[in-house]
């Protein structure tokens, strides 16, 4: 079997996470920490891409890695226009959208730009895999109930898809042929209905849909929310901050982030127990709702993300949803591995890479509801 070397790049605000894979096996995993002073010198995030590219290359050369042995480079997908899931070849249209920051500014926008910069000089292809903007939602799911608001597909697509494929393989089926409910239980919580390889409905965890999480509020009664917004207590920015960073479990318990969920759930008499139970309750409720999206025909329910490490938490969810389907647990989230596997499927010709097209094409797909 051929051996493919894949360089994976996942940029974060002050760190560039990189990994070098030989097929699925990581040879190097490293977080390159950048000088915050140096990062601040740049006028925008995208303008850092040459600087970060150079840092990565210098690191690899210092380690003695032969760059000419690379088969492909993979970057974390950034804020692009809504697209189908899968592995995309990085092309000029994508780079233009990222350089122009047409969909917003985020460190992940650097992923594709850096990957292309490195790959181009080595005459090899560069890819992104399942960016957060993956939109495969059914039109019916986009109807919110108020015409001025359309539901959007924003979720942890990379982990959802990678875990979906892993689970499908264990079920002895193809990901494109199974119906799964995947709950990503991390900093944010997103629960998606995967039908034949597409995420046809998923809650927008960033925008207050679905269960609450450790720091974020989930769906709130909108009447009360509107009242609070106009009460004069918070400015627009403060209100947003409240919902994104000062809600959820932390707001109830008023404790720092380092809370150990497993410890808190040890004793049902613990005053915090109810809050965690409520968290599991809301997750279960969302899973139940996703099962109706799939008409109850669910091959498996999958729990993934950091919170899935807690056996007691998983048990609380299982008690309520195990009647729907079997439950599979894949704790944690390995973004770099998921990116490498996405590229490996393309290199092994198991999947055809997609082209990021221009906007009209995308809207013809009926994504602009």
């Amino acid at each position: 079997m051929s051996r493919y070397r894949i360089l994976v790049i996942n940029p974060r605000s002050l760190v560039t996470e990189i990994a070098l894979y030989e097929n699925q096996v990581p040879i190097i995993i490293e977080d390159l920490h950048h000088d915050s002073e140096k990062i601040r010198e740049f006028s925008s995030i995208v303008s850092q891409y040459k600087f970060r590219t150079n840092e990565i290359l210098l690191y690899l050369v210092d380690k003695g890695i032969n760059l000419s042995k690379l088969a492909a480079v993979c970057g974390r997908g950034g804020l692009l226009k809504p697209i189908d899931g899968g592995t995309y070849i990085i092309n000029a249209a994508m780079r233009n959208d990222l350089l122009g920051q047409t969909r917003g500014e985020h460190p992940s926008n650097l992923g594709a730009l850096i990957a292309y910069e490195i790959a181009e000089h080595l005459e090899i292809p560069s890819y992104i895999v399942d960016p957060v903007v993956v939109d495969e939602m059914d039109n019916i799911a986009k109807i919110s109930g108020y015409p001025k608001i359309t539901r959007k597909s924003v979720f942890h697509a990379l982990n959802h898809k990678a875990t979906g494929r892993r689970a499908a393989m264990e079920l002895g089926k193809k990901y494109e042929k199974v119906k799964l409910i995947i709950a990503h239980l991390g900093d944010g919580i997103t629960i998606g209905a995967h039908s034949n390889g597409k995420v046809i409905d998923v809650n927008n965890g960033l925008n207050g849909e679905g269960p609450f999480s450790m720091e974020r509020s989930g769906t709130l009664p909108h009447g009360d929310l509107v009242d609070l917004c106009y009460s004069g207590e918070f400015t627009y920015k403060e209100m947003k901050q409240q919902l994104l960073y000062h809600s959820g479990v932390m707001a109830y318990l008023d404790k720092p982030r380092s809370l150990q969920i497993e410890e808190e759930l040890q004793n049902p008499d613990n005053p915090n127990y109810l809050i965690f139970e409520a968290l599991a309750y809301q997750v279960a409720k969302e899973i139940g709702s996703a099962s109706t999206v799939l008409f109850g025909k669910v091959d498996a329910i999958i729990l993934t993300g950091e919170l899935a490490f807690s056996n007691l938490f998983v048990k609380l969810i299982m008690e309520r949803v195990s009647w729907i389907a079997d439950i599979m647990v894949y704790p944690g989230e390995n973004e770099r591995q998921s990116l490498a596997e996405g590229v490996l499927r393309v290199l092994r010709k198991e999947e055809i890479p997609k082209e990021y097209g221009d906007r009209e094409e995308c809207e013809d797909n009926g994504k602009g509801v």
Binding site: L57, L67, I118, H121, E123
Partner: protein, 535 residues
């Protein structure tokens, strides 16, 4: 009324005091503070009358005093990470012994560090010196030791006479120059960094402080890290100029030439026998040049025919990085003509060229030239910037360091601890005539390491060649220039036959060992022996 007068007078008096005064009532609300108190805490806290002490100084101890009714004297209180106050707190009681408030007296901590007198400072210094991992010694102007710490005693016990003299000499230098002196002692087993500073009091030299840092571990780890990196580069086939191991002026010249050439965009031609490091040099040039982050493409005329054709027929500007075309003599005359055109084109637009071209040949072009198998014009073009890598026979002084390096690599691979090569073995290695140079040297050592017992640390002659076979003249491979028309399979077979014969002879006809050495099954070896009529 009188009370009031007394109160206001005493308050005015309080403002004259150096000490700070803060007065709180029985609930902890501030009733009074003087100017000194305000000044002492103003960096961090803003004192206000009628405010609760805890709302201003959250970690104040006044509430504790109100509660316990006990005085606290000379307590340290941190205003910030660096500033401290000495605070004494007293409860205020009325006639019925009821608590009516508390007073705090604040003093600047520096005023109170009187215990740091000369004797104590000396004790403190001695303590620091005793516990320090670095070796310290203080000598007077006569060179007599006044003070030394246990680390120094420990260090001096392991250095030899010569090193000890260097330590003394370093001090003497300070006495002569009255300036700091610094030296590094570096031997195989020890690395010391020695720094000496003059002690000058009132312009007079009173002695010298010497600090010795043992850097042996650091140096050793650094060296090991570098070696590991070099091994990784070797495994990755990704070289730097530092990876060349040599002592000979010929090699030094070749490397210098390569560095110079790497700075230009010229086409570089590397000549040298098999195993002299042509690929390594080409790769090092690539990694040294501004193209180091770009593709290094290796094209072998026979193995990568399609790539070669593509390269010869397409426009130069399509390529980036470095193209390394090896075994240029394998090109047909037609291909040579195309290459010549390319080189001329390259020469014209040298500065604009998007990539670097490196060409190599393992055999002397002159032979091919005479045989009419090589274009004279191409020869002239190539020789413009050429680097010659001499064979081991022309640089015997490199054999020992090379062998040591290979042994270090082999030690890691085969879990041995061979540290030295004895004189006889060195001589044998130097007088051996190598056909494929460093490659063959490595192969010989590879075989030898298998024969070395696990506990042995010296490679001896008996490990190298079996008795009676040392300095054996290897079978010369026929010059392949004449074979250019033959198919590759035939050439490979020819080579295979020679290798098997050679190994078999070296191992005194031991077929099992030969098969093992060559990575063949015994059965396969027998088959090949039969095929090449080697029985």
């Amino acid at each position: 009324m009188i009370d009031r007068t007394i109160q206001s007078t005493s308050y005015t008096l309080f403002d004259e005091l150096k000490e700070g005064i803060i007065l709180v009532d029985n609930h902890g609300v501030i009733c009074y503070f003087n100017q000194s108190a305000e000044r002492m805490v103003q960096k961090q806290y803003h004192l206000q009358i009628d405010q609760h002490i805890l709302s201003i100084i959250p970690n104040s101890g006044m509430m504790r005093v109100l509660h316990t009714k006990r005085k606290e004297e000379q307590k340290m209180f941190a205003i910030s990470d660096t500033d401290y106050l000495l605070i004494s707190r007293y409860p205020l009681k009325d006639k019925e012994n009821q608590i009516i408030g508390a007073v705090a007296v604040l003093q600047e901590a520096s005023q109170k560090r009187e215990w740091l007198d000369d004797d104590n400072i000396q004790m403190l210094l001695t303590l620091i010196l005793q516990k320090s991992a670095e070796a310290y010694v203080i000598v007077d102007e006569q060179g007599l030791v006044i003070m030394q710490n246990p680390s120094y005693d420990g260090l001096i016990s392991v250095v030899d006479q010569e090193q000890h003299e260097s330590v003394i000499k370093n001090r003497e230098e300070v006495f002569q120059t009255r300036r700091d002196a610094e030296i590094t002692l570096n031997t195989d087993t020890l690395c010391l960094s020695i720094k000496s500073t003059p002690i000058i009091v009132d312009g007079k030299l009173k002695g010298c402080l010497q600090i010795i840092e043992n850097k042996t571990e650091t140096v050793y780890l650094k060296k090991e890290l570098q070696q590991t990196k070099a091994i990784i580069r070797g495994l990755e086939h990704n070289y730097q100029f530092d990876d060349f191991i040599y002592r000979s002026p010929f090699m030094k010249f070749a490397i210098e030439q390569a560095k110079l050439a790497a700075a230009t965009k010229r086409v570089i031609f590397i000549r040298g026998e098999e195993g002299t490091g042509k690929f390594m040099l080409a790769n090092a040039i690539h990694n040294w040049s501004e193209n180091k982050f770009k593709l290094f493409k290796r094209i072998h005329p026979k193995r990568n025919q399609a790539q070669l054709n593509k390269f010869l027929s397409t426009n130069c500007t399509k390529y980036k990085g470095t193209i390394y075309l090896e075994n240029v003599t394998y090109l047909s005359i037609d291909e040579q003509t195309l290459l010549l055109e390319k080189l001329r084109e390259f020469g014209k637009g040298e500065k604009q060229a998007s990539f670097r071209l490196i060409i190599s040949s393992p055999i002397k072009l002159e032979k091919a030239l005479i045989a009419g198998a090589f274009l004279e014009e191409l020869y002239d073009e190539l020789m413009k910037t050429n680097i010659y890598l001499p064979p081991l026979s022309e640089r015997k002084e490199d054999i020992y360091p090379l062998s040591k390096y290979f042994l270090m690599e082999l030690n890691q691979e085969s879990d041995r601890w061979i540290q030295e090569i004895d004189l006889e073995a060195q001589k044998a290695l130097e007088s051996y005539s190598y056909t494929s140079n460093a490659l063959e040297l490595k192969a010989i050592l590879q075989l030898a390491v298998v024969r070395v017992q696990e506990e042995e640390t010296v490679l001896k002659l008996e490990h190298l060649f079996h008795s009676g076979e040392k300095k054996e003249q290897p079978i010369e491979l026929e010059d392949t220039t004449d074979d250019v028309d033959q198919p590759l399979s035939e050439l490979v077979e020819k080579y295979e036959k020679v290798i098997i014969e050679k190994t078999l002879r070296k191992l005194e006809g031991n077929k099992t060992l030969t098969a093992k050495t060559l990575g063949l099954s015994v059965r396969n070896l027998y088959y090949k022996l039969d095929k090449y009529h080697l029985n």
